[in-house]
């Protein structure tokens, strides 16, 4: 039996299954890595365990649910026990006790129909939410009691039950006896919740359905129960009771107003942690007219993607730790000591990749020295492009000139020389700059100039080199690149790993278990699968403005790809755009908000426009995970000039011909003739068919 298990784990992908919503408590503990970035001072001094409400904002897969579930009392106690600590000391050490609740979107929508007035739905939802959290408190007590963190003798429990019943339903007659236990309260609340659902279900059938139960007001249980509980149970006194609410974006606007009001007027020891997508707040208003939630005054905010990206090094460390935890759980990886994802994925720089494109492999210096220059000049496609220009400018001495600007040790340098020629640099000047650089005269001003040009453009030049060598494709490989493609979203990184491990486990087991490496091509294949799925599945399924977002993303992909092939490479690695959001129609603003909520676009810090006097513009970057799909850069380098209202709205809502017109206007014509035209790209819309 043991042998069979061992055999089974050999092919098990360490990165399979990691959605925190689907994990049990034990898995949450097993895969939990303390994100110091969030708990440390870097998160702008926000105390996640303190009394001020905190909003955790981030795209799908950024780790919000993992964090909220980890903070729940169920997981905290189990985590305490798993570290062989004395369970009785759990509450002594705990600063807070968390109760977790996830808003299920499909159910929240059912608290509305035309048979019942909005006022009645408001009353019913307030009542329902009190019951839900009240029941969570009782479950918290069950949990603490079961694990012997608290001791309640029957007499105490009876008294507690009497007081709780008094606020849950004062109309209930109370007889204090041996049945007056917490289970009684739990069942009573469940009965009341069932009453709510019976009303919800029947309200779809008839307008005459009556709700006959004692109606709770906002805060009755949410703030009332912790006060009573703390009075009775000494061990809980002084602890913050943190209500951890996940997927806030699933609530209707009215429902958010109800909870916003509770957050605004929270009463200690209760505090809130709200997990939501970016732009998941449909409103910041409360139920009181003119009152709304104010950041810093009423709550603090942590933007996951911003923090994770801003603290790039920390993010990498976190991803490495998470990957290590997953790899260590699979014996075949652990026993072979293949647990460092940095080593498994390795690293490839643009110069090495350029060699693979031109020579088919990374060449050592000695190998290049032995390589026939004549053969190189004849076969290398980018050299052919240089020859065309040189011959045109100086047909008699073209051979001589050519030999002065070729550099097989690094084809990207040759590509830079080609670029300079295309930018109308004189041949003599190119030769001078190039020679100064290759000789390595670092103090010379020409060295600095050439070096700056090289560093600014080398990745852009690599894309152009690859386009000359089709069907060769850009590699999206290496730990650093995977971190960048993740765009601050942990699930992206884990999915990238999952996909490339799938390929490696299927066709590269010798390399994986022999050398502890996954080939760059397998990594690229994995990256393309993930990228395509995000484009074709995730963006397709966005419920609000999914079609418009897909249309915008497709147009952006076409524009960025076209700029990459710009003959003069005037803006290398274009991946973001600026727009004055206030100038857009309400519908267009909603499309942008939804695109950010679903992480198709990521909003960056506003910046000044390129022309003097322009106002601060809103900046949006295409999620880097889409880079492999469009074969564009994953770095946040270049931006296009400001998009106008017409440009962006045509890309969202326009007819096919309007989209084509805008894309042609905003894009650049390709530098090499064999490259597909922008129109082809748009019409085809699907590069996976390449």
């Amino acid at each position: 039996m043991e042998e069979k298990n061992e055999e089974e784990t050999i092919t098990q992908n360490p990165f399979a299954g990691f959605n925190a919503s689907l994990m049990n408590d034990e898995d949450i503990i097993k895969f939990w890595i303390q994100p110091h970035i969030l708990f440390g001072k870097q998160a702008y001094g926000i105390d996640l365990t303190g009394s001020i409400p905190v909003v955790l904002m981030g795209g799908r897969g950024t780790g919000k649910t993992m964090l909220l579930r980890f903070m729940s009392n169920d997981v905290q106690i189990k985590n305490h026990i798993s570290r062989n600590r004395d369970v009785k000391k759990f509450l002594k050490k705990a600063k807070y006790i968390g109760v977790y609740y996830r808003f299920d979107g499909t159910s929240m929508a059912s608290f509305s129909n035309r048979y019942v007035s909005e006022v009645a739905w408001e009353t019913l939802f307030k009542h329902y939410f009190e019951l839900i959290i009240g029941q969570k408190y009782i479950m918290m007590l069950f949990n603490l009691k079961k694990e012997e963190c608290i001791v309640l003798n029957p007499e105490q429990e009876q008294k507690l039950v009497v007081q709780l019943l008094n606020i849950i339903d004062p109309n209930t007659k109370i007889e204090v006896n041996e049945n007056s236990c917490l289970e009684h309260i739990f069942n009573l609340i469940q009965k009341k919740i069932n009453n709510v659902f019976e009303f919800v279900n029947n309200s779809a059938l008839s307008k005459n359905v009556q709700f006959e139960d004692y109606i709770l007001n906002s805060g009755d249980l949410i703030f009332g129960m912790p006060t009573i509980i703390q009075n009775f149970i000494q061990e809980i006194q002084g602890k913050n009771i943190i209500i951890l609410l996940d997927e806030y974006e699933n609530l209707r606007e009215l429902q958010q107003k109800i909870i916003n009001t509770l957050i605004k007027h929270t009463r200690l020891p209760v505090s809130f942690r709200i997990g939501t997508r970016i732009n998941g707040f449909k409103t910041f208003d409360t139920l009181n007219q003119g009152e709304f939630l104010m950041v810093d005054a009423d709550y603090r905010i942590i933007q996951f993607e911003d923090i994770l990206l801003a603290k790039d090094k920390e993010f990498r460390k976190l991803l490495k730790k998470i990957a290590r935890r997953k790899l260590e759980l699979i014996p075949s990886f652990k026993n072979s000591n293949i647990i460092d994802i940095n080593n498994i994925l390795g690293h490839i720089n643009p110069e090495e990749e350029a060699m693979i494109v031109v020579f088919g492999k990374i060449m050592e210096k000695q190998e290049i020295e032995k390589y026939s220059i004549d053969k190189y000049i004849l076969e290398a496609k980018h050299i052919n492009e240089i020859i065309k220009i040189v011959k045109k400018n100086n047909p008699k001495q073209s051979e001589l000139i050519l030999r002065q600007i070729i550099y097989p040790q690094n084809p990207l340098i040759e590509m830079l020389n080609l670029l300079l020629l295309k930018r109308d640099y004189k041949i003599e000047e190119v030769i001078k700059l190039f020679k100064t650089y290759t000789i390595g005269k670092k103090t010379n001003i020409d060295f600095k100039k050439y070096n700056d040009l090289y560093n600014k453009n080398k990745l852009g030049l690599l894309y152009q080199l690859i386009s000359l060598n089709k069907p060769k494709q850009k590699l999206y490989a290496g730990f650093d690149v995977f971190c960048m493609l993740s765009s601050g979203i942990m699930r992206n990184f884990l999915e990238l790993c999952y996909q490339c491990f799938n390929t490696a486990l299927f066709s590269e087991t010798d390399e994986l278990f022999g050398k502890g490496r996954i080939s760059f091509s397998a990594q690229t294949e994995g990256a393309k699968i993930r990228s395509t799925r995000v484009y074709e599945d995730t963006i397709d399924r966005i419920p609000e403005y999914g079609n418009e977002i897909k249309s915008l993303v497709r147009s952006l992909g076409a524009i960025y790809s076209a700029w990459q092939m710009d003959a003069r490479l005037s803006e290398p690695e274009l991946t973001y755009f600026c727009v004055d959001k206030t100038s857009l129609s309400e519908e267009a603003r909603k499309v942008l908000d939804s695109a950010v909520r679903w992480s198709a676009l990521q909003q960056k810090k506003s910046m000044k426009g390129k022309s003097p006097g322009e106002p601060l513009l809103d900046v949006y970057a295409l999620n880097r995970i889409l880079a492999p799909y469009f074969e564009i850069s994953y770095r946040l380098r270049g931006r296009i000039g400001r998009f106008t209202k017409n440009d962006i709205e045509s890309m969202m809502f326009g007819s096919d011909s309007e989209k084509q017109r805008v894309v042609t206007k905003l894009g650049r014509e390709p530098v090499f003739e064999e490259k597909i035209t922008l129109i082809d790209f748009l019409v085809r819309g699907d590069r996976s068919e390449d």
């Binding site: 059938l205 008839s206 999914g546």
Partner: protein
């Protein structure tokens, strides 16, 4: 939570007269799908006498036609409508409005309604429509109900645009917070919709049910292929079950088996994404187990013609054994 039990049988619609000679009400709906009138034609061709017809005239279908009044006349002629019959003008994605219109239509007969024989053709209704109608008819309580369903010959284009998962009105169930969540996905030909529901619910356990045997060999395994991404998840694939695509009662039985196995540990939600007969099975199941929830991914955009031609027409005879 209720004492409702539903028994039923399935037969070819051509044999409908074995079960029903006269129907008090025939309910149907208009559509651009060619199969919309097959149940009506077969019933009348086989000599079933119908006293009154109530037909849903979906606004979206009429709007999609080039000549609305000509199209409406064509539907009137098809169903041989007379003055005593009723046309209910309703929106296709507003099942609550559909039910209200139906209730208004029968309010005068309501006292004796439980004895009525109703023949309901649900072939071209969207699923939440007949879910809500059946829920209402089960509360009257009706003794018997006769349902007609015509298979398509081919599916043309499916839903277009984005979708939003919601509880079907009247089927929100009642959740026990001490239990985990299980989602039963009746697989259809649109993998995106299954993934959408899966994301909305985030269940601890997912059980896919494939429609097998399919209506016709040409549909065999198509739902498996269309749900490839979902079924690539080992934890989901290992739970795969099967129910005949055209048999609601067998589907209900499969759901009952799953329910018996998991009810103690899980809150059960069902997403009827497969064929309409399978969806009917899940509806009957949820009527008997009102704590279970039905989720439906509502498309944002209506497609007037999602199927071509027609195949078999079935009659489902249902008896409500209601102790209320």
């Amino acid at each position: 939570m209720t004492d409702l039990r539903i028994n039923g049988l399935i037969d070819h619609a051509e044999n409908a007269r074995k079960y029903l000679k006269n129907a008090d009400i025939f309910m149907g709906s208009i559509s651009s799908e060619e199969r919309f009138d097959r149940g009506w034609i077969i019933s009348t061709d086989n000599g079933i006498r119908i006293k009154k017809k109530i037909i849903y005239y979906f606004n979206e279908v009429l709007k999609a036609s080039h000549d609305r009044s000509a199209e409406e006349r064509r539907f009137d002629t098809t169903f041989q409508l007379t003055e005593q019959d009723k046309k209910l003008y309703v929106d296709i994605y507003n099942e609550v409005e559909g039910l209200t219109a139906f209730k208004d239509c029968i309010k005068d007969d309501l006292t004796k309604f439980h004895d009525k024989k109703i023949l309901l053709d649900f072939s071209v209704m969207i699923k939440p429509y007949f879910f809500l109608l059946l829920k209402y008819l089960s509360t009257i309580p009706l003794k018997e109900l006769y349902l007609l369903y015509t298979e398509p010959s081919l599916y043309d284009e499916f839903t277009r645009g984005t979708i939003s998962g919601k509880d079907v009105p009247g089927y929100s169930g009642a959740k026990d917070p001490t239990k985990k969540d299980a989602l039963i996905l009746l697989l259809g030909f649109e993998g995106d919709r299954a993934l959408e529901v899966l994301n909305e619910v985030s269940p601890n356990l997912t059980i896919p049910v494939n429609g097998f045997p399919a209506y016709r060999p040409v549909f065999k395994d198509r739902s498996i292929l269309e749900n490839k991404i979902l079924l690539e998840e080992e934890d989901i694939f290992k739970n795969l079950r099967f129910a005949p695509a055209n048999d609601p009662f067998e589907t209900k039985k499969v759901l009952e088996d799953i329910y018996s196995e998991f009810r103690n540990e899980y809150n059960i939600s069902v997403a009827p994404l497969g064929t309409k007969p399978m969806a009917l099975g899940s509806c009957l199941f949820a009527l008997e187990h009102s704590e279970c929830r039905i989720i439906y991914p509502y498309p944002m955009e209506y497609l007037p013609k999602s199927s071509l031609g027609w195949g078999n027409t079935w009659i489902y005879v249902m008896k409500f054994l209601n102790d209320i």
